[in-house]
């Protein structure tokens, strides 16, 4: 059940278009900065396959210049997800 957050940099002058594309992309929640050309993207997928499929979609978005992974919660990465797994199984 991966939840990941990224810093997304739009191509020059394409911030608004990128926001629109990401809003329509499944499993994505977008939080644009108010005063800089940068967005925070949070993805929430069911499993690793869905996560990988989403990653391919994101890499194909032409308005997106650069994507930086910041935070990932998954069983493999850290304790926080251990807790989430427990809850998800309840």
């Amino acid at each position: 059940m991966p939840v990941k957050s990224y810093i997304a940099f739009p191509r020059v002058g394409m911030k608004e278009q990128l926001i629109e594309v990401l809003k329509k992309t499944p499993h994505c929640e977008v939080m644009p900065a108010l005063n800089k050309d940068v967005l925070v993207l949070v993805t929430d997928t069911a499993d690793d396959q869905e996560e990988e499929a989403l990653r391919q979609i994101l890499y194909g978005i032409k308005e997106l210049a650069h994507l930086n992974l910041v935070s990932g919660y998954s069983d493999k990465i850290n304790q926080t997800d251990e807790k989430s797994s427990e809850h998800d199984n309840e």
């Binding site: 990941k4 644009p32 005063n35 800089k36 949070v42 910041v70 990465i77 304790q79 809850h87 998800d88």
Partner: protein, 774 residues
């Protein structure tokens, strides 16, 4: 509950990313309210100070089923008002790292063998005792940390100075804050800043002296940026040797040549006097002028000794000394135009502007670090811009309790919990509170940090116990001190949470409890003492450092001096320690108050129950003589000192063989030597290894491209790192920068162990290297 849990995870992930963006692009704003509480029910939130830097942000740790599951900023903390940086949010994620030390390890026939804590502590006590019996008490030493809690530092001091009777106690804060301490003591006669973070809310101008605040004090820097956004009359000036994220966010970035800061500060004072911007009445009432020795050396040789001698001078003598520092005369030396120096002076000199100077390692890790601290105080004293809301010099600390533990408890060779070992009254007070014979506390300091590890190398120290620090990554010139520590002549005990290059050379490794696995107190940069309660259990046999010290003390026969209980020892120790600071000048808040509040700034005023926000100003500080407007009561005459301190060159400068200056430092994602943050996946992934920043023109000339492996070579050693060109920071031509967090790319094998002869703090910012392609 599942929905809530997912929501919480998404909020936490978003918060981390926003914090990361804020660090990358200071001043960035998001509409989403990341602090709103969308956490699932059943989480207990407990307050604490952040484990990492000296800003001392208040955190709330969420615990569920005995595990830390989340961290958020404490909205009640006036330090950070709910904000945290990327390290702060992720701090608890290192706790359950797979290689966590949970059992004592004793080296037997070259191999580490798991041993019970009881047995390991027996061995430590026996070895310490045996070493004292055979070689004398100055053959044993303790080296502790600005990350030790106040109780941990206190019992270390009591064991070494009060019980055993040796001043062989030092701590890693010597490497980061000693020049600040020496600066405060020589100018004001008392340590620690007069102001507080609330200065940020009042100032118009922030002048950052060699301080990459955007990365090193990120939450404070956000407060500066916030002020600039909300008020029109705020500007930030970055004065540095390298272009950093701070320079990019500043209103003006001024680059100077390494060591040129000494001449810049004097040139600013020249301008203040020359333009009639001196606050004459303040200077007449509250200041005296002195000069000290010059050509004072660099401590490069073992057993280097230096003692400054102050001589009184008058204003006219000081004024004529400054003639050599006319702005146009120092342009070549500093690399700063006369125009820019005059601009800086005009900011300090403008009576309508409130100015705060901030600094940290750039000025402290300096072979003339004490002088540099004195010189910035000179500027504020000449203009009278000191000890008032929004006006003041503000020395920031690096570590979370460099102030609270290292400086206030006094875990340095020359210090006692109150005062210094050379002062008879201070020794008498310590002996009385510790209930030990007065003559047991020696009246002479022994080894400062660098000299302590030289003494290990020379074979003089035969037993050393290192707690909560990693000197074989953080000392300068580890190329000498690592082989020194590998010698059989010294028995080495290391208490830590994780394995490090320092535990690698230990004879005994003791597993330590982490931050929230014990109760404790830290003191941050603004004199704020913060208490926290234990929140989770330490794994295996890990225990608080203070309790290890107590157990060893008891085994050595000092049980009567350490009558503390296991459950409440931190409280009992704090209550005992508080007696040292009784009185108006340094009164510490009672524990009951600290438990309720997100910290209290000392001196705590009993009558009002409030913090003292600005010391030495009788409007705010009841310790002042009420008949004076300002009273620098650390000095017997109530006056601060303006010091005549010249420019003197660095000990090692670039030449034909080693043509580059090497500067070292930190990055926002990693805490010091990385032993914790490199075990936090998010932070490790963000900056997985060190690098060497080069100016693009230098890189081109050397035929080096971004990411290419290069050798950084000095007269001491070599390190191989990938080149970083036009990435995070931009060194000036002829300079390179390397962060020191990476134990696999040890830049301190290359650095020089020269130090300030007054403070004994090493200079990690300047030595000569050459760069070779692999």
């Amino acid at each position: 509950m599942t929905m809530n849990r997912r929501h919480f995870l998404k909020k936490a992930a978003a918060a981390s990313a926003m914090a990361a963006v804020a660090a990358m692009l200071p001043g960035v704003l998001f509409a989403s309210d990341i602090e709103s509480d969308h956490f699932p029910p059943g989480i207990d939130w407990t307050k604490a100070p952040c484990r990492f830097c000296g800003v001392g942000c208040g955190i709330l740790v969420g615990v569920q089923n005995g595990k830390a599951v989340a961290v958020k900023g404490d909205p009640n903390s006036s330090v950070n008002k709910g904000m945290l940086c990327v390290k702060g949010y992720h701090q608890t994620m290192c706790i359950s790292s797979a290689d966590r030390l949970t059992k004592a390890l004793v080296k037997k026939h070259g191999k580490y063998v798991e041993t019970s804590m009881e047995e390991a502590l027996d061995l430590v006590a026996a070895k310490m005792k045996e070493t004292i019996d055979r070689h004398g008490k100055d053959a044993v030493a303790m080296y502790t940390s600005g990350q030790s809690t106040i109780p941990e530092g206190y019992v270390a001091s009591k064991l070494m100075k009060g019980a055993i009777g040796t001043n062989n106690l030092e701590c890693n804060a010597r490497l980061c804050m000693a020049s600040a301490v020496a600066g405060f003591l020589t100018t004001f006669g008392a340590d620690e800043p007069m102001g507080c973070y609330e200065d940020i809310d009042h100032a118009n101008v922030f002048i950052l002296w060699g301080n990459n605040m955007a990365e090193m004090h990120p939450v404070l820097f956000s407060r500066l940026l916030d002020k600039r956004l909300t008020r029109k009359d705020v500007s930030i000036i970055d004065l540095a040797t390298r272009t950093t994220r701070t320079s990019k966010a500043a209103d003006k970035s001024i680059l100077f040549k390494p060591q040129g800061d000494l001449a810049i500060a004097n040139a600013i004072c020249y301008e203040l006097i020359n333009n009639g911007w001196v606050n004459k009445s303040f200077v007449e009432k509250h200041v005296v002028f002195r000069k000290g020795k010059t050509d004072i050396g660099y401590g490069l040789e073992d057993k280097f000794a230096f003692k400054d001698e102050a001589q009184p001078i008058d204003f006219e003598q000081y004024k004529s000394f400054l003639e050599d520092y006319r702005p146009d005369k120092v342009e070549a030396l500093t690399g700063v135009s006369a125009g820019d120096i005059k601009f800086l002076a005009s900011l300090y000199g403008n009576p309508n502007k409130k100015v705060v100077s901030f600094w940290c390692m750039g000025m402290n890790q300096h072979t003339r670090g004490t002088w540099m601290n004195n010189l910035v105080y000179n500027i504020h004293l000449l203009t009278g811009k000191i000890s008032q809301p929004g006006n003041g010099p503000f020395s920031l600390t690096g570590q979370p309790s460099a102030c609270g533990t290292a400086r206030e408890v006094g875990t340095f060779t020359h210090k006692l919990p109150k005062g210094v070992v050379t002062n008879k009254k201070h020794r008498e007070l310590a002996a009385k509170i510790w209930k030990v014979p007065y003559d047991r506390i020696p009246d002479k300091p022994t080894y400062h940090a660098t000299e302590m590890f030289r003494a290990v190398d020379r074979g003089e120290i035969k037993f050393i116990w290192i707690q909560a620090t990693n000197p074989l990554v953080s000392l300068p010139k580890t190329s000498r001190y690592r082989p020194g520590m590998q010698k059989k002549s010294c028995f080495i005990v290391v208490s830590d949470v994780f394995p490090t290059p320092t535990t690698d050379v230990a004879d005994v490794i003791l597993p330590a409890a982490w931050h929230i696995e014990k109760s404790g107190l830290y003191g941050n940069s603004e004199r704020r003492t913060q208490y926290w309660d234990r929140m989770t259990d330490a794994p295996g046999e890990a225990m608080p450092d203070a309790w290890m010290t107590i157990e060893v003390a008891r085994r050595m026969g000092y049980g009567d001096l350490f009558p503390y209980s296991k459950e409440k020892h931190h409280e009992e120790i704090y209550n005992e320690y508080r007696q040292f600071h009784a009185g108006k000048q340094h009164n510490m808040a009672p524990l009951a108050i600290l438990k309720k509040r997100s910290g209290v700034i000392w001196p705590y005023i009993e009558e009002t129950g409030k913090s003292t926000l600005w010391r030495y100003n009788s409007k705010y500080d009841p310790a002042c003589d009420p008949d004076k407007d300002f009273d620098f009561y650390g000095n017997a005459d109530g006056k601060a000192v303006i010091w005549q301190r010249p420019y003197e060159a660095a000990p090692e400068m670039p030449d034909n063989e080693y043509p580059f200056w090497l500067n070292t430092g930190r990055v926002i994602e990693h805490w010091h030597t990385g032993s914790m943050t490199r075990r936090i996946p998010v932070l490790h992934q963000a900056v997985p290894h060190a690098y060497v920043e080069l100016h693009p023109d230098d890189a081109r000339q050397l035929g080096i491209v971004n990411g290419q492996k290069v050798k950084v070579i000095s007269r001491r050693g070599t390190t191989i790192l990938p080149a970083s060109i036009n990435e995070r920071g931009l060194p000036a031509r002829g300079q390179v920068f390397v962060p020191f967090f990476d134990e696999k790319m040890l830049i301190n094998d290359v650095t020089l162990d020269a130090f300030c002869p007054i403070s004994k703090e090493p200079d990690y910012k300047k030595c000569a290297v050459r760069i070779e392609k692999l």
